[in-house]
Every structure is written in C-alpha cells, then in structure tokens.
C-alpha cells in the first residue's frame, strides 16, 4: 500500500515536471501584451488579461514567422531523409561487413558527436559565403546531416545487429545478389530502426539554434528557433511575451504531434541506441 502511494506520488511528480512549463507558455500565449509587460496580471493563469486567440492571429499574420516555419519544416525533413539514407547504408556495412577502416568510421562519428558546434560555425560561415551556400536551405541541410549522422549510424547499427542475418544468406543461396538480399530482406526488417533514427534526426534539426543564427541572415532560410530569438530585437529583458509565447506554442506543435504518434519508437530508439551493456 505504502509503495502504491509512493508510485502515485512519483507519477504526479513526473507529470508536473514535464508539463508545468508547457502549461506556463500556453498560459502566457493567452495573456494580453499590456498585462504581461506592465506586470498587471502576474499570476500563473491568464485571469484578468485573457485575450483569446489574439496573439496567435497576430503571429500568424507575420509573413516572416510563416516563412520560418516553412523553412524549418522543409530543411528538417530534407536533412532527415538524406541523413537516414546515408546512415542506413553505413550502418549496414558496419553491422554486417568486414572491412578495413570500420574503427575509423566509428571514431569519426564519435568525435563529431562530441564536437562543440560553436567551434565550427565561423569557418563554416566563411566557407559558405565563398561558395554561395550562406543563407540557403542546403547551407543548413548539410551541417544538420553531418551532426545527425553519428547518432543515426549508432542507432541503426544497434538495430541491425538484432536482425537474423541467416535470412539474408538464405536469399543469397537462392540466387539473390548482396544488393538484392539487402533490399528485399533486410530493409523491411530494419524499418523500425530507420524510423527511430529519422525521428531523432528530425528532433535535432528542428531544435538546432547555433547553425540557424550563424548561417542565415534573412527569411530565405532562417529556421524557427533563430526566428524566435530575432522576433523581438536584441534586448532579452523587454520582449513581447504574449506574441513570443504564441509563436513558441506553434513551433512546438510538430514535436508534440510526433511524440504523440511515435512515443514507443522514440523511447526504444533512444535507449537502444545509447545503452547496450
């Protein structure tokens, strides 16, 4: 009985932890601009200053904001697709084939995963301007791919190890080439792993901030996190809280949708990719 009460309390605590800031930003997004900046309605809930959907319509009317949503969606989806294709090929080779340089690939991936992004942005800024990739979609897609490939390769090699490879050999015995065996037998079995890698890659790209603020300068390619930080000018202490909160809520919707749809797969992917003991 005591244990049960402890568990219920624990669950309540976890839920409160996870959802309190979400509730807070939702609440802010319904408060009027005036009330927030003058501090006339400082409580948690928007009691005196409820404005309905005003902040949302105002944000949505902003052309630059809509553009940054579109940028983020396009860039993240393309980066995810390309990254997962390359990672699948590489992870298959790592899990399955004997070749020289396997250690090298894994070491490179590990080194890149722990690389401080800030160390890279200024040379990349220079290079991108020279070759014309600055402030373009590919200018962000390529860095996102480089930084999500390590995670995708690890997650996928972990999954690929679980596949009963005898089936592929059986296909080869039946006359299929290595490539055919890979495509017809392994790809369907590996699909859940590929899917997990895709979700994690999308999370990374959607969340990125450093590349977003340094490698873009206009609404051509500026993704949503960078747009949010520029939305309001340079002073971090005088921000249009209500508008910003509404924009933040809109930017969070894709993540919440993905989480709701694929909760099981994300948990499995995170844990299997990182911890195998």
């Amino acid at each position: 009985m005591k244990q049960k009460i402890g568990l219920v309390l624990g669950v309540a605590l976890v839920m409160l932890w996870c959802l309190l800031p979400i509730a807070w930003i939702l609440s802010l997004s319904f408060k009027s601009q005036d009330a927030v900046s003058n501090g006339t309605d400082p409580g948690f809930l928007p009691l005196d200053s409820f404005t309905g959907w005003d902040n949302y319509t105002a944000v949505w009317d902003d052309e630059q904001f809509r553009r940054s949503i579109l940028n983020s969606l396009g860039i993240s989806l393309i980066a995810t697709l390309l990254s997962v294709i390359l990672a699948t090929l590489a992870a298959y080779a790592i899990a399955r084939l004997e070749f020289r340089g396997k250690k090298f690939v894994l070491t490179v991936a590990l080194a890149i995963a722990m690389f401080p992004v800030v160390s890279l942005v200024s040379p990349l800024f220079d290079l991108w301007r020279t070759i014309g990739l600055y402030d373009t979609w590919p200018g962000l897609i390529i860095p996102y791919m480089s930084f999500t490939l390590p995670l995708a390769i690890w997650t996928l090699s972990a999954f690929f190890r679980e596949i009963p490879w005898e089936m592929e050999q059986a296909a080869q015995v039946d006359g299929a080439t290595s490539w055919q065996a890979f495509r017809k037998v392994i790809v369907p079995l590996a699909a859940p792993g590929v899917f997990t890698a895709a979700i994690l890659t999308f999370f990374f790209a959607w969340n990125d901030f450093v590349f977003g603020i340094t490698l873009t300068s206009t609404e051509n390619a500026r993704p949503i996190p960078a747009a949010l930080s520029f939305f309001v000018g340079p002073d971090p202490f005088q921000r249009p809280a209500g508008l910003l909160a509404a924009a933040a809520v809109i930017a969070t919707i894709p993540i919440v949708v993905i989480v709701l749809l694929f909760q099981r797969k994300i948990v499995a992917g995170l844990t299997s990719g990182a911890v195998k003991g």
Partner: protein, 313 residues
C-alpha cells in the same frame, strides 16, 4: 522494451571470409561504397572548418578589416589564456556542467524508477517525458526566462522565501541558477530514459534474492541495482556532461551572456560572430575543442567507461 536490445554475440564472428579472397575483396568494395557518402558528409562540415580554424588562429584577422590580416603566431592563444575573462567563463561552464549533471542524475534516476515500476498510465508518462526532450531549447529558455522575471513570472510568487520584487537576472548567482533550472528541466528526461534502459537490464531475480536474504530497500539499491547498471549510468553521465559543457542556447535566450553567465561556447560565439574577430575567435574555438576533449578524457578515465562496449561495438 529494452529487454529486446540485450547485447547479442558478434554476428560476424566465425564467418569472416579469409583475407585476400575474392569474397572478402568484394565485401570490402561494397563496404567502401556504402560507408563513403556518410563519411564524406561528416568530414566536409568538420574537417575543413577545423583545419581552417587552426590556421586562422595564428593570425590577427578581423572581418571588419580583412586587409590587415597578419601572422601573429601563438599570440591569440597567449592573450586568451592570460585573460581573466577566459578563465571566468571556463569556471562558469564547468559549474554549469557539474551542477546540472549531478542534479539530473539524481532526479533522472528517481524518474526512471517511477517509469520502471509503474504499471498504469505507462504510455501517458512516456509521452509526457518526451515533451521536454523534444521541445526547442530556445522555447524552454523563453518559458523559464518569463517564469523568473519579477514583472510577469510566477516563480517569485510561488517561493515563500523569495521577495516578490527579487530580480533573478540582476546578479551572477541567481541568473546562473535560473539558466541551470531551464537546462535541467529540458535534459533530465533524456537522462532518465537512458537510466530506464539500464534499469531494465538489472535482473529481477537478483533483486528478489537480495530481498529474501533480508536486504533493506536502501541496501538493494546500493549493492544490487546501481552496480549492475554501471554502464548505463556512465554513458548517461558522459553524454550529458559533454552536452552541458557546450551550453549555449539557454544562455543566449535567457541573459545573452550578461551578469557573468557567459559560457566558453558563448565567448567563442561572441568573438567570431558578433565581433568578427576571426583570428581570436578561431583560437578560442580550438581551445574550446581541446577542453571538450579533456573533459571527455577525464570522464572516461574517471569512470573507466569502455565506450566501444557500451555502444555494443
């Protein structure tokens, strides 16, 4: 779920074709073709910029006066390493890392225990815990910044020992605490999911046996559960620590580096992107990279983590 991912014996063991055979050569060629694109993309964005940063770090080079570029040898490094600002930022960064990872480890473990034991509402909890993990750091930074500001936040009203008008962003210590709260909120779920995977690997039989032998709950935790999930704890700590050491987004959003909250990543960013000091910024970038390597090395040594093994390689 994680029980399906228990390490399996090396699949290739015993079936590697003899070196030099046609089959092994064909396999090598196929592997090269499959791996090359990924490796090339990873190197394009890292190898060239690293070499260029290294090269630029020996120059005095500002984007505002590009024609005055001049070779200055180690002078940028000496300037950085003898400047108290650099060491203050290193100190603040290490503080962010130590405090957030320590707190996240404890809270993350408690959350993992709850998730491991709970039978009802499993899906709801797992869905909720993924929200902080998935949410944009900039968004959570905003949420917490507004929560802490005294004009419109709720934090002062909820903490009885804090004055209503207390300005969290007016001084280093409270501002650092506010940034840490945001960081801890965002990344504890990640930690707890990694620990959950480790918990799932501790055999229930062993825990039962300890129970039968009369071990208390506390003894079972310290003598059975924790030692058996050592690998998972190490991996979680290593990954979170390296991430925390590179802290940037939360600081940018919450204080923009004001009142001494600046991290070493932020200093590097400020020098290169805001002040266009590419030479000095590159030297800082190299120092940042070297210090990340040092942190990784220390943690691996300290915990004796075998990453290759933890990754199942």
């Amino acid at each position: 779920m994680s029980s399906t991912y228990v390490a399996t014996p090396e699949v290739d063991a015993g079936k590697t074709p003899p070196a030099g055979s046609d089959r092994s050569r064909a396999e090598g060629r196929l592997a090269a073709k499959l791996v090359a694109p990924a490796v090339i993309v990873m190197l394009v964005v890292t190898a060239f910029p690293i070499l260029r940063a290294l090269w630029l770090s020996f120059y005095s080079y500002s984007l505002t006066a590009p024609d005055d570029r001049e070779f200055v040898g180690l002078s940028n490094y000496i300037t950085a390493l003898t400047d108290s600002l650099f060491w203050r930022d290193i100190g603040v960064t290490v503080l962010y890392m130590l405090v957030t990872v320590a707190i996240e480890l404890v809270i993350g473990f408690i959350f993992a225990m709850v998730m491991h034991r709970v039978i009802f509402a499993r899906g709801v909890i797992r869905t909720s815990i993924l929200i902080p993990y998935g949410i944009i750091t900039v968004v959570s930074g905003f949420a917490w910044q507004f929560a802490f500001t005294y004009q419109n936040g709720f934090v002062n009203g909820w903490l009885p020992f804090i004055d209503e008008q207390f300005n969290w962003f007016g001084d280093t210590t409270p501002a650092v605490i506010a940034i840490m709260v945001s960081e801890i909120w965002k990344t504890t779920p990640f930690m707890s999911l990694l620990l959950l995977a480790g918990l799932a690997q501790v055999s229930e039989d062993m825990i039962e046996a300890a129970k039968v032998d009369g071990a208390t709950w506390w003894q079972r935790l310290w003598k059975v559960i924790l030692p058996n999930m050592r690998a998972a704890i190490m991996v979680a700590v290593l990954f979170r620590a390296l991430d925390a050491y590179r802290i940037f987004d939360n600081i940018y959003v919450m204080t923009a580096g004001a009142v001494g909250t600046e991290s070493i990543s932020f200093l590097t960013y400020r020098q290169t992107i805001e002040q266009f000091q590419l030479g000095m910024g590159s030297a800082l970038a190299v120092l940042l990279f070297l210090s990340v390597l040092l942190v990784a090395f220390l943690i691996v040594k300290l915990f004796r983590v075998d990453l290759a093994q933890a990754r199942g390689e």
